[in-house]
């Protein structure tokens, strides 16, 4: 399932996929795959994404009801 909440949070922060990737030390393609729901990041990377986007794990990664 696509992670639209992460994409919205990133755009709200005015960050491109590449800028977020640089902040996290990963590739742009990995950010693309997480947002498209094709790659499940580890908890470590999830926390790093949440910190970079000022969100909680629930807000970004908990499945919507």
């Amino acid at each position: 399932m696509k992670n639209k909440r992460m994409k919205i949070a990133r755009i709200e922060k005015d960050l491109s996929q590449e800028q977020l990737a640089v902040l996290l030390g990963v590739t742009r393609q990995t950010i693309g795959l997480i947002e498209s729901g094709s790659y499940n990041p580890t908890l470590k990377l999830c926390i790093a994404i949440c910190k970079a986007l000022d969100k909680t794990l629930d807000e970004l990664f908990w499945p919507e009801e």
């Binding site: 399932m1 696509k2 590449e18 990737a21 640089v22 030390g25 990963v26 590739t27 742009r28 393609q29 990995t30 693309g32 795959l33 498209s36 729901g37 094709s38 790659y39 990041p41 580890t42 470590k44 990377l45």
Partner: protein, 234 residues
């Protein structure tokens, strides 16, 4: 800029390299058997035995220490892949440097050492081709590309100097005296090797980047289609 350590790339690369560890072991064992059948002595098989000891011994130690024997759990398998990748790299460099040293120190028995190229070369080619196809060999963005190219240039210059000195070095000395014309040969060889390596590696990274972008685009399309199907069902 620091070198990126992308967990997705590391995981997928480790899984692929772990499989190549078994290929390298099988090739090494086959080469040793053929050598023994053809009557090779202990000295001609010393590197083979060392590589097998590092590969098999290292696996036994690491799997026992980390409790990885028969690992079926996803996380344990990832740890096992990472261990086998480290052993693959140890065997690879041992073979490359070992072959280099043996070829220079015992040039008369070159034919006994030539098969090592197959043992380290075939898995390396498979890893490179698969990495390119799966988009695992990439810069990962324009900023990373800039920093990566600077690192590549530095590595290429070092490699070119090494290649030029090793291959062209002997032509600098003739009958015990220094030949300035040999220096030109060293520079030429280094320049040709360096240029070829840099151009080829840059082209491979470009191809890998393209494959990775294509994979992301395909994943997005797939997820869009899945979303539309789910909406239709509702």
């Amino acid at each position: 800029m620091r070198k990126i350590v992308d967990e997705r790339l590391a995981r997928e690369t480790n899984a692929m390299t772990a499989r190549m560890y078994w290929l390298m072991l099988a090739l090494q064992l086959s080469v040793l058997i053929v050598k023994l059948v053809l009557g090779a002595g202990l000295m001609q098989c010393i590197l083979d035995l060392l590589v097998l000891a590092v590969g098999l011994g290292g696996m036994a130690i690491l799997r026992t220490a980390k409790g990885l024997w028969g690992a079926k759990d996803e996380v344990l398998r990832e740890i096992d892949d990472a261990c086998l990748t480290k052993l693959f790299m140890a065997m690879f460099w041992l073979l490359v440097f070992g072959e280099f040293l043996l070829a220079f120190s015992d040039g008369r028995n070159l034919w006994w050492y030539a098969p090592y190229v197959l043992v380290w070369g075939l898995p390396a080619v498979v890893i490179t081709v698969k990495s390119l196809r799966q988009g695992l060999l990439l810069w990962g963005g324009r900023q990373q590309e800039k920093a990566g190219k600077a690192r590549l240039l530095k590595g290429t210059v070092l490699g070119a100097v090494f290649f030029g000195v090793v291959i062209g070095g002997p032509s600098c000395f003739k009958d015990g005296s220094f030949q300035p014309s040999g220096l030109v040969q060293v520079l030429m060889m280094g320049a040709v090797w360096g240029t070829l390596f840099y151009v080829m590696f840059s082209a491979m990274m470009k191809r890998g980047e393209k494959a990775a972008d294509q994979a992301v685009a395909e994943a997005e399309t797939r997820m869009d289609d899945a979303g539309e199907d789910a909406a239709d069902e509702e």
